[in-house]
């Protein structure tokens, strides 16, 4: 019962974006995708979302080919938050979050929809400006609103809670201030504790070390290393990938990576 890709290769034209990747997102865990720009992180997240047909290999949900599951059924099993979430018309934050309920139309009571939206607005600290137009918000506030939409989508009605759900996040903290970065990932942590599996692309290594159960390090489309942050996030493993020199720094009881030179 997992969301997984098996020996996945993705080519666009002649460029190989991902080469022979196998990874699964397990229920209740946070899997981090790390790697420099162009390593293939967003493409892998897209493959897990079922956005495109793999060039080779397959993506599956509970053993079933993702490509064979229709969009609506997929939408009831996983929510996706991509970078650059912008809307064409001036929706309010609440309207954007309500869009997260659209896969559940007809399956979920209106009262349940309302509760799910209210919960998502509260969890992401966007209640205060829920009735403002998205266009008037800062980048970070918009990002939190998009996160709230994903949470609202994941909030299954009582009749459907038995199925395993997944949350896919592409750099969800890129526009957030420090406290909201931690607030968002803590919310993800609490969500995972209730059962859903999470896959998150992160650029901040220290955030990844702190919140992820496992990390997959991608380098030029290949799986460079996979394991717990403690195993993988060492100066020796990450140095060649990011092409910088790291050193481990003890800060309190946490080990952090710092760039030297």
């Amino acid at each position: 019962m997992t969301l997984a890709v098996h020996n996945l290769t993705q080519r666009i034209g002649r460029a190989t974006i991902l080469a022979d990747i196998s990874v699964e997102v397990r229920p209740g865990e946070i899997l981090g995708l790390l790697g420099p720009n162009g390593a293939g992180k967003s493409t892998l997240l897209g493959a897990l979302a079922g956005d495109f047909k793999p060039t080779a290999g397959r993506a599956s949900l509970d053993g079933q080919d993702l490509a064979r599951i229709d969009a609506l059924a997929r939408a009831r099993r996983r929510a996706v938050m991509r970078q650059h979430g912008a809307s064409a018309f001036d929706f309010t934050v609440r309207e954007i979050v309500e869009l997260g309920r659209s896969p559940w139309v007809g399956r979920s009571a209106i009262a349940d929809d309302r509760r799910a939206v209210a919960r998502a607005l509260a969890l992401t600290d966007v209640e205060r400006f829920a009735d403002r137009a998205m266009g008037t918000l800062s980048g970070g506030e918009r990002q939190r609103a998009q996160f709230a939409r994903a949470l609202a989508q994941l909030d299954a009605p009582p009749s459907e809670v038995s199925a395993q759900r997944y949350l896919l996040l592409d750099e969800p903290t890129s526009s957030l201030d420090l406290s909201h970065q931690h607030a968002l990932l803590a919310a993800v942590r609490r969500l995972a504790a209730e059962g859903p599996g999470v896959c998150v692309v992160l650029h901040d290594l220290n955030l990844a070390a702190r919140y992820c159960d496992r990390v997959l390090v991608l380098h030029q489309g290949r799986a460079h290393a996979m394991g717990t942050p403690l195993e993988v996030m060492t100066p020796a493993t990450l140095g060649p990938v990011y092409d910088v020199r790291f050193t481990s720094v003890q800060a309190g009881n946490a080990t952090m990576l710092a760039v030297v030179g």
Partner: protein, 355 residues
């Protein structure tokens, strides 16, 4: 919070709630309809209409004839064409994720008009191929196919790798419009006297041809796709976030896109076949609806239909009265009103976000 230059109170958009907004649009539509059937060389008051409808015995037969044979078909035509163009515009804008997309601007109307003009000028040679019963359908069918080809062409040009570039699409629309204008120009050049009079009507847009015989075949062609488009509101809301996002929310994006393109081409083709090219309705009306009630398509689609009908009824009234007893093509009235609104939308968007 400190990065906001807009005071929070001003940033909360003032919106009329959906039920109230629909009532307001409905009232506007009824008023416009009553004015459209009421004003002209003969005044027909709402009381007279009631008497005619209830088949009262003391009705002036001249009044009844004017109402039933002239005013009513024309008002119904204006209502249906306006509603169809309004909802087609709203759907197009939702599909292209841009409030500037309009069936007229991107060439759908021109494609439909070119096909209709071709039927008028060259149709004599194919008329013997079809039965007389099929003849009323020839023009609407040709308009639909012309509109569909233009839409497909513009859409194909504007879409690369699954994402639609609005700038490319608008440019492709300019090219399609120019190409269709060239085609219409050529057909005009080879047309005879009788055909020329008809062509004037096509290219400027007019409701002057309204008679039950002309409009009845075209009505279902506009009304049915318009009703089907109403059901796309959830998909269009999701599409506003982007095509990938819409698919993440469970929308079968490719199917929805194809369906909307075909329905819009039907709607616009049907409207063009009976009224010629009338621009700006599809552009201005959805914009007004969003301004009043917000961007959700559960309001924008029916609202654009209602307000589109009301606007077209009003514009046609102006077209009939301004130079009475002569009448102006309604397309000219609509362009005179719509083009400045279009410019103001562009100016506003320029300051808010990029195209």
């Amino acid at each position: 919070m400190s990065d906001l230059s807009i005071p929070a109170a001003a940033a909360v958009p003032r919106r009329v709630k959906r039920p109230l907004a629909l009532v307001v649009f409905g009232v506007a539509l009824v008023l416009a309809f009553l004015c459209a059937v009421g004003f002209g060389a003969v005044r027909i008051m709402p009381g007279d209409i009631l008497a005619i409808v209830l088949r009262a015995v003391d009705v002036d037969p001249r009044l009844e004839a004017v109402f039933l044979a002239i005013r009513l078909p024309r008002a119904v035509l204006a209502l249906v064409v306006g509603a169809g163009l309004g909802i087609a515009g709203a759907s197009m804008q939702g599909l292209f994720r841009n409030p500037l997309a309009d069936p007229g601007l991107i060439g759908v109307s021109a494609g439909a008009a070119l096909a209709a003009v071709a039927v008028i000028v060259l149709g004599g040679s194919v008329l013997h191929l079809i039965t007389p019963a099929q003849r009323p359908w020839l023009l609407p069918a040709a308009s639909f196919i012309g509109g569909l080809i233009a839409t497909a062409l513009v859409y194909r040009m504007g879409t690369r790798g699954g994402s639609t570039s609005v700038a490319t699409m608008l440019l492709a629309g300019i090219a399609v419009n120019a190409l269709c204008a060239a085609g219409i120009g050529f057909l005009t050049y080879i047309a005879d006297e009788n055909q020329l009079r008809l062509l004037m009507f096509w290219t400027m847009g007019s409701l002057g041809a309204a008679s039950w015989g002309v409009i009845l075949p075209a009505l279902p062609l506009v009304v049915i796709p318009a009703l089907l488009l109403l059901r796309a509101h959830r998909a269009l809301d999701a599409m506003a976030l982007g095509e990938r996002e819409a698919s993440h929310l469970g929308i079968e994006v490719e199917g929805v896109k194809r369906r909307i393109v075909v329905l819009v081409a039907l709607c616009v083709g049907g409207a063009v076949s009976v009224s010629g090219i009338i621009g700006f309705v599809g552009l201005v009306v959805p914009h007004l609806v969003r301004l009043i009630g917000g961007p959700r398509h559960a309001l924008v689609l029916p609202g654009a239909a209602m307000l589109g009908g009301a606007l077209m009824l009003s514009a046609d009234l102006v077209a009939r009265l301004i130079m009475a007893p002569a009448e102006m093509p309604v397309g000219i009235v609509m362009a005179a009103f719509g083009a400045p609104v279009f410019l103001s939308i562009m100016a506003r968007r320029h300051t808010a976000t990029a195209l």
